[in-house]
Symmetry: D5
Subunit: 162 residues, 10 copies
């Protein structure tokens, strides 16, 4: 069985039983709603206790429960650039502001990246009199590039030089 | 003259004169550092008073000053997916969490997108004992899809149905 | 069930029962024919009352009715550039006149875009003695780019400067 | 000399002399502002009298004047899909509503296309209390597909069958 | 049902019953053999009387007969450039001689295109003592580009200037 | 020197001296106008006597004359699919009718291709009361596939079997 | 039925019955082993007598036998560049040595190509004390480019000039 | 000045002065030869003391020295997949063994990645009687995926579950 | 049956029976765990004795056992660049350090490649107080380019010149 | 200096001085004509003595002579698939016959590849009464895949099993 088939089965169950993602996340518990959604959509592994609860919630077989607990081949089949407008806007923001964030990170931290692995994500409604906003907070650990062979007193990682 | 040539000239000046982005943004003023960086990197128009200050700061000609004040053809020549690892991590976060954010937005707001135009961006260092983090806050106005031809009492925009 | 499978089922029913899009739109009601067509073709969400009518019209299951009411992953699988000549001509018009429209918008409104979300579409036959024409009217809200950090008296959005 | 170099020269002149597209179009005359813009941006041929006026206006050589009067290799070097957000929105509208317009055209006219050659374009500001809108009107002649070998009393073109 | 599945069914029938395209075209009648072939291969609509004859000839259901009479999404799934050598040679001829034909058309007719819609196609064996040849005749209406806003006495279409 | 630079130089000369392709072809002679155009546009070798005449006509150096006489790297830098509408229509005709021509060739001749090398091309104006047409005649030698290892009495080439 | 499905069925039979390609080619006869392999892999037509023998050997239906005798849509679905290392090396050799072979052919023969249609292929083991080698011999007829409109005493084909 | 131009200048100097990479690395010092090579080839930042030594070694201007000390836009213009056979083999090894390494990492460590940032690289000659070998050792820190919202006693990172 | 379907069946069995790759490799034996994993994932041939053991372990049919013993079409359907972050990091390391390794190999060995065929791979956990690391050792035979036609005393292979 | 610029300079010299590849290869000597051509075209390193002779022959600077002696980044900028018909035919032959050669190699030798590095190439004119042929002989060492961890008595390389 493929993970994408399991995702489709879960979405079918969610639709037929009028479940919201909030209800699903509450029913499975233990992690944020966004994390649980990402796992059920096929891009994260669901830990064992949560996979068991999800199996009960969606009426999955033992085999499907175990599949939910596996690390998936992430983003398989994703179209890039995305054609869906809601997805595209995130992509576009990265196109327009990506070089700026790169420069900022290098000036503030030195040579390295924002981790997309040791990474937190929050999305929430931000009330605004001129129209509510979607607020996305990404927080990733700064990972400095390793500079091979640095000796004592030298820069071993790509951090800012004094 | 192409905007990309002007960007290169500005980066040359910045390098030769040991200017930081913070110093440049302070010298130009009026907008956030990230906005000014984006404009100088060629993806935003710099308003007139700022273009004038930038011209003075970087020793630009009148023609170059005006070019900075033009709306650019954004992201011209951007490679996609990006090969630079710092850029790629943003792209990857969108790949992995994009479908989750899409589902979240639709459940919370209804049918629509997070604007990438009426959009704010903050990037900052988030101190953390386990290693400082890069914190990115994106806030875009929720724009509901227009549902053509809605009549009185009907859903005219893709907002949540009661 | 995938939205594309539902679209195929609806097109099969339409064909077998000799329904025109006009008849379908009249039967479902509440929105323009183009909006209803777009939803049935899989690129829009059909609001609940309309989904119920569509379900009755096409003999859909409760599950399929709910799927019609979901926000779809838009344009999944679309080939780009399109190979179909009727689709291609729209694409070509954007290629040839796109840069012109960009310049016009910036001169008339300032820095920003025509929204493709708060967007109306009309298509109609335009009688003409030299051969009738297809008349397409697109009307999208002008969205000015937000200029981060604008202070009092400054340009906060990418509108024309006086 | 390449047409793209000429376009860049014209844009440089326009910038240095604070010319608006409206002023340029008025100065050249004879055609709509959008047509003249498209020609100066390199995607249309400028007829001889207009090329002469343009040459005077921009201080072009005889050779450049003649180049403006040539049919260009249109859209050379255009990125597709476009990365610029203002261009992308037009592209997106075609992605989302293209299949709808195709179905509409076939039901209303029969088998054929909207010409992108015998084609008019208008773009204007549409005042709106909720925010002004960009209004684009495209009007292209309907061209029915030719059905080879039709004999008397048969459908020779892809028009609607009675 | 998808048009491509219908095409496959027709090719299966043709093979199992040892029908030639010539016999099929004769049996369906009313249009050229090439037109009928194109329709059965999924790139043209077959008019009603012909669809009825085809349904009888291939033992199709009423639903399949109607599908043959629909305007298809043309060339869906076509690989480009084509990998099949017979297809590739046509593609190559366009690569090598395309710019020549473009220049010829502009010099002979002015600014415009050869229509691929109001378009005739003939393919025939051309006997030749050095080896018979494939002779392809394409004839498409010249369509001049419309020059928006032309006033009396001006060039309204991209025809040759005197 | 690259062939593309030579092509540009020739086009500059043609423009500055108001030469038509017909005049150029007459001046060079010996081959059809289309052949000479293709060579000057960089996709054919011009035989020595013609290269000499072209050199005289365009004021080329000895080195440039020799470059014209070389077999070029054909179609270098060609965009595919082409963005120019005049070129695209040829491409589209191949997309829509290519599979039909393939089937026709196999039924009429057997397994093989229409040569794009032993290939003639004619393009001409075809007067027509409903609007003149562009008439393109391509004639390529049929080349049967070689069937390796055929023994006496067997099909050695992919010709029709009796 | 698609040719690719037939290929898969044949490979299944070959595997289940421990047939080697040599045994299959001997059983079918009449052509080289490589030719028969290419046909069974879906890239060549198998002549009628051979298709009959193949049908018997693999237990195919009459319909499948006829499909083997059809000219296939060659190389459908081939990935390019190929990901399989054995395939890739042939591709790489063409990348590295292709321009060399082009120059050689033009110097030795004149303007033209090595036919890939009137083409022989041999592959064999070449014993070598330093490790046996794969020896591939390709022999294709030289096809000179036709030079349109050549008159008496002129070069009609792209052969070497004296 | 672009980093790629600086790289080209350095390679020119290296060639003209018969410097080996080993000599260059010894002359600059402080880091491994591979690190210094990567920086000079444009994919790493060279720390200040090393940039100063490099500037002296290669006769660079102050501006060029500073450019070497900047974090570059990595891998700009890299072709992918690479056409150079030496590069391609690394790419191929990742294609063939990538999925295996992914499974291995997940089984051994849990959900996460091998960092390409906190990453060491060694390449050396491995003497072997059957032919010396290239030995590449990559060592990257295992980074476990963060599981958002984990509460006490739960898996906070994608490590192996007991 | 396709190799990818067999891979999926094996992964299903592994999951349902809670087998680790280590257990599987121990059960099959004879080769390294990584080699066996690569074969079961579809990118290597499993030798006969191992295929027999695998068949017993996973309950495969005789036909499936034989398929495991066939050389596969490697990496069929692999996305490139890979979207999965764990795979992407290997790809990225090759992008950033590939040109460095190419230069190193040429300086150390001369002109040639690291074989990806006569190639060993080890992956292991490398304990580290700052966080364990993934250690990948690749060792491929250096293959010098053959220099065609070398005569006695000349460089026949691309080895270093003295 | 880039290798591609050096190639262009050499081709210019060759043209201006009417040198044939044969004359050039004779003048440089030591290797086959094809090898020398490949090096001069930028895809091979020319050994030192030959680089010296080439420098003398073409009037190159010392720096250019050394560049000829460097291992190039092979095939930089190659278009794939190639647009030039002479190159394309080689590519096509690989598409059509590649899978056949893969199967042949595996049956004859076992699991492995034909080396494109330890590789010979000959191209010659093959006289033929029906038209001379281009005969290409490629001979590459068979490289068996290494099967990691083979123990005594086991298959260590992907050779045929008895």
């Amino acid at each position: 069985m493929k993970r994408s088939e399991l995702t489709e089965k879960i979405l079918d169950y969610k639709r037929d039983n009028d479940l919201s993602w909030k209800e699903i996340a509450d029913g499975i518990g233990g992690y944020t709603q966004l994390f649980i959604m990402t796992a059920l959509l096929g891009n994260m592994k669901l830990p064992k206790p949560q996979a068991a609860k999800a199996a009960k919630l969606f009426g999955l077989s033992k085999s499907e429960e175990k599949l939910l607990n596996e690390v998936p081949m992430r983003c398989e089949g994703a179209q890039t650039p995305p054609t869906d407008p809601t997805l595209y806007r995130f992509y576009e923001a990265m196109l327009v502001f990506g070089p700026t964030m790169k420069e900022f990170i290098h000036e503030e931290f030195g040579d390295g990246i924002m981790s997309a692995i040791d990474f937190d994500l929050e999305v929430e409604r931000q009330p605004d009199p001129k129209g509510d906003r979607v607020r996305v907070v990404m927080s990733g650990k700064f990972l400095p590039y390793k500079y091979h062979g640095a000796q004592e007193g030298q820069m071993a990682y790509g951090l800012k030089e004094e």
